[in-house]
Subunit: 672 residues, 2 copies
């Protein structure tokens, strides 16, 4: 197998991203009004990213210095590039997304087919940037530093750190703006959604980009990179110097990139009669190509189909989690209907039944993950060779994420279509335009459910695989649950996602309150604003969201990095192992609970708006709005951040494993 | 040390319970109206218990047969007696509580002092029954079966099973009645709380007894018994044939009983100027006596003060958890004030801030437990002798629970005073009577917070100690988190409290809906009911709560027993170890989250009712009521059941450890 295949495929992905991006830029961006509004959104989004990156620059420099001093120069270099590549992917993807939105709106004036193509191409730029930069970075640094996997964990740490800040910051930004715009604009002033008279409307649309495009992209960049690192690390110790075998995960990822590009081209080619069919076709073609590729590759590299089995298990588990996610959160199924029905007796019963659905919805995904873990472990021969079994688990994660390019494309397509709708509304385009963008948007929502399944499933598998790499590196043959420090670590670790959830939810509340006051102030103090004669001060609202998001992302971000180090230094490697295991188990559960409860409340509200239980404006609808408002920080801020929290903590432990193994456990030594 | 000391102390406790009970019965139970109403409550409560016990009889017989076949006849005997003793304690305690309530109301007509004495004596009967029966059962069966600890785990299993059913059943009963009475009576019909025209009012008062008296008593009976069993089991293997050392936990518990009795007598003697002071005095005296006793006993039995250190650690951790519980749930502190403030912007922000407070409130208790575990492990020399260290953890749990007699007395006193208030209201006694019972009730609420801290802390420590016993019995030297089956067990275990919470919350919803419909029906169909001319059909409502509670307790109860067995049989002892560790860690967190969020919402509502943020009837108040309604099943049904769930699962594993070790892991064997 050619060592340079991953590099070639990475460049190919970036080339396609570049071509799509150019195609989009060439399209018309509509009339002056549209250009003006799109300009506000684009500027707001870019302003946020650039301010965020200034903060992150300080963080990157500080951590890089720590790494140079504590570990090695090479790891620090990898760390810096992991962070920078993640930033590049987010920046590039969002730049294009904020150009594609207005062009999608303009295209929708002439029909659905072209609008679909532009929106999806915009998403594809993000998707291909993620996988292209991910595979390039990993391969280049692996080869450059003498085929040594020890350094590239730094690349993962860089990617994870940026992902956490981007997710938390983006999540707070988008929800503060959303709640502020809705509560004062829709509820108090009684003006429709995306009304240009609402001062928070631009911030709201910017939020969709920084949260759902840049935040999500950084999240999946991290998963993608993390899963490959875990497989590379485990393989490195298993297949000493057999580069073909060691590089198997990179080769598999290369096949995934080719499959994703082909899938994307098919989805783009679709004549757009039925956008759902277009996205499905692309996704299925990509998936099937990866399966075929893995089948051939497994036999060629290992001489059997065991690796293929593990990869297939990952893909199947991801798809199944996505499917059950749909069952708990889509209004065709009984759960959302039940929440809607319970809304008739008021908001309390809406909340209780939503929480109950969310908690219940953890069962099946956990069982799927459990089966996937055991299957990929035992099919690789884990019963007699534990290391091979653990390698199998990491391959399942890589398999699940091999089509990340496609998954991100579909995920990022949604907010672009959503933004296009907002621009159409604010520019007062005919309602037929909005109908098309709404249709495109709703398709994205359904397909995105499967994407969420992949995100949660892969986070769990990646964390478990990284956990195995951590044990390998600290030379722990066992992390014994019967040792009290392990149990104490487990309890503390399980507590962290709760603490993290609390902090992020509080942050959204605080930021939203500031936004609410500002919008109220503008409605009161700017004469003529309600008649549309005076222009609201959009920038002030954008600034509030930006400042709040940046301020509030600091504490949770630092927590995720400092706590594992502190526990490792004080209580040693076993306690840290327990901490990670605890954080992974309760973090995955909280992630599922929050994502699904939030999704179910959202759709219960929409279901009632569709006319049941009294429809819009009824008491049941008011109760459902309460559910939706509670669900917003659940599904868009705290929930998605859990995935990153557990991976970041694991990779911090992995990077600093050596230091902790030799210097950690200070407190325990006192007792000896 | 005399082997029969525990038996003597057990009998002493029961004697005092008997004396107090007789004293209460001799008091006047007021006028005919009061007798009638108290009669309804008494009958309703007894009817529920007797029907519940019929169900449980079937369960006990079936499980006993399984135990005879799978383990041993002696274990089955212990199991049956563990269940029966728990039932006795609940039955006896509630019988007296439903007599004390009306007598407290009658006494309150003549002043506070006597009312306090009767209510507290009623609670003391429950408390002393719990510890008396607990220590008697354990000691008798330990000695009767040839000083063998293996059989008495069955006693713990019996106690735990009954506790789960009593807690879940009682919790569903009380909340269904509460929500039904409040929503239709208070909100829809606009009649006050405890109004005799409300058909659900009797069921509501019965619910306080079956939930807060019988359910809570069974819960602490189980903790008490479980902690002693874990210490006995570990000590049995450590101190071969040295009966003085082996029986140390029973001797310590004996001292705790004497201390509790003295504390209770002091509290009863107080002239009742300040009921809070009376309860505090009793609690402190009991606590100090136990500390002194443990100090002397530790030196006498072990020749040093290490055991004393572990015991003290348990008491300190329990008290600290109680104290921080108060900080998160009492309206003098910022958290409740914040929730109240957030209620101004509607129910959604009330819910978000309550959940955030609940999640945040997990941090300190977990840190306290972690420090307590490490301290009691290392002070016993765990660094060089792991078994001794684990024994230290179990002693911390026994220490924390040594004053259970007193804790339960204070806990059960609250609902008696609450019931007395209800009876006063329904019998139209002068408002001065209600003022006194309200004062007594509010004192109970504050002191009960510390009791909750002990319940959660002891559940965690007991489960960890039982977990160590499990490992001993299955001869596992390690439960390795790096083995995938352990990790899979951990994930599945962590998921169970979520599933369990979902099921119990759904059950409350279903039962409450039935109750709501019945109350509405009676208001509509019984002419003259609102004018107080016709009597509502109280019994119908009592029957609905009874039937619903019994039906809904079956699935969660069976789940808690079957899942550990199934995992052990399919995936083996290590997976089962992981399952328990996962369930304990996420269960403790969910228990704290639910208890504190529920308590904080409750008090935020009361705080607003005190006149802030617009007071009663304002929009903020309405939002706070939504929070309180969501919090009800949190704090009174799902939350408390978590404590039992984790202990029950642990003890099921311990009892069946031998069978699982020799026959388990069927699925894994397929891969070998």
């Amino acid at each position: 197998m050619n060592t340079y295949l991953p590099i070639i495929c990475g460049i190919l992905a970036l080339l396609f991203a570049f071509v799509f991006s150019n195609e989009i830029t060439k399209e018309s961006s509509g009339n002056d009004r549209m250009k003006e509004i799109a300009g506000y959104i684009h500027e707001g989004a870019m302003a946020f990213l650039i301010t965020e990156y200034k903060y992150l620059a300080i963080f990157i420099i500080v951590v890089a210095i720590v790494i140079v001093l504590a570990i090695s120069f090479q790891t620090a270099v990898c760390f810096v590039f992991g962070a920078i590549f993640s930033i590049f992917a987010g920046y590039f993807g969002m730049r294009v997304a904020t150009k594609a939105n207005v062009r999608t709106a303009e295209a929708a004036r002439h029909g659905q087919s072209k609008a679909l193509k532009i929106a999806f191409s915009g998403g594809a730029v993000m998707g291909l940037s993620v996988v292209g930069l991910g595979i390039l970075g990993l391969t280049v640094f692996y080869l450059a530093f003498g085929n040594d996997v020890n350094f590239i964990t730094g690349f993962g740490l860089g990617a994870s750190s940026i992902a956490l800040f981007a997710r938390v910051g983006g999540g707070i930004y988008t929800k503060a703006a959303d709640v502020g715009a809705d509560l004062v604009g829709k509820v108090e002033a009684g003006i429709p959604e995306d009304d240009p008279r609402n001062p928070a409307v631009i911030a709201d649309n910017v939020g969709d980009n920084v949260g759902d495009v840049a935040g999500m992209g950084a999240d999946l960049f991290e998963s993608y990179v993390g899963s490959i690192i875990s497989a590379l690390t485990l393989g490195y110790f298993l297949f000493t110097n057999d580069q073909t075998k060691i590089m198997f995960p990179l080769t598999l990822a290369s096949i995934g990139i080719i499959a994703s590009i082909i899938g994307i081209l098919f989805a783009r080619k679709s004549k757009g009669e039925n956008p759902q069919k277009a996205l499905n076709t692309g996704t299925y073609i990509g998936g099937i190509l990866v399966i075929i590729g893995a089948f051939i590759l497994s036999n060629k590299v290992f001489g059997d189909y065991k690796a293929f089995g593990a990869i297939l298990a990952g893909l199947v588990v991801g798809t199944l989690i996505g499917k059950v996610t749909e069952i708990y959160t889509a209004d065709e199924y009984k759960y959302v209907k039940k929440i809607a029905k319970q809304s008739e007796t008021g908001p309390a019963t809406t909340i209780i039944s939503g929480l109950a659905v969310g908690m219940y919805s953890t069962m099946m995904p956990i069982i799927f993950i459990a089966v996937g873990v055991l299957f990929s472990f035992y099919i690789m021969g884990g019963a007699s060779d534990i290391s091979m079994g653990l390698y199998g688990i990491s391959l399942a994660a890589v398999g699940m994420l091999s089509t990340t390019g496609l998954t991100v494309a579909v995920d990022a397509y949604g907010p672009i279509a959503d933004n296009a709708g907002g621009i159409a509304e604010m520019s007062e385009l005919p309602s037929s335009v909005r109908d098309i963008t709404d249709k495109l948007d709703s398709v994205g929502n359904t397909t995105a459910a499967i994407g969420k399944g992949f995100a949660i499933g892969s986070a769990a598998l990646t964390a478990l695989a990284l956990f195995a790499s951590y044990a390998q590196k600290t030379e722990l043959s066992a992390i014994n649950l019967l040792t009290p420090v392990t149990l104490v670590g487990l309890l503390l670790g399980a507590m962290l996602p709760f603490l993290f959830g609390s902090l992020t939810m509080e942050s959204v509340g605080k930021a939203a309150n500031e936004m609410i006051e500002e919008v109220r102030r503008q409605f009161k103090n700017i004469p003529g604003i309600m008649e549309g004669k005076a222009k609201p001060d959009y920038k002030k609202c954008v600034d509030i969201s930006t400042a709040a998001a940046l301020k509030e992302m600091v504490l949770p971000g630092i927590l995720a990095i400092v706590v594992p180090l502190a526990i490792g230094m004080l209580l040693g490697t076993e306690a840290l192992g327990g901490l990670i295991a605890g954080a992974v188990s309760s973090g995955v559960l909280m992630a599922i609970l929050m994502a699904n409860a939030g999704g179910a409340w959202d759709n219960a509200k929409k279901y009632i708006e569709g006319g049941v239980h009294g429809g819009k404006g009824s008491d049941a609808h008011k109760a459902a709005v309460v559910g939706d408002t509670v669900g917003d920080p659940f599904k868009d801020t705290s929930g998605p951040a859990m995935n990153i929290l557990i991976k970041l903590m694991t990779i911090v432990s992995l990077v600093f494993a050596g230091v902790i193994a030799s210097h950690g456990g200070i407190l325990l030594n006192l007792f000896k």
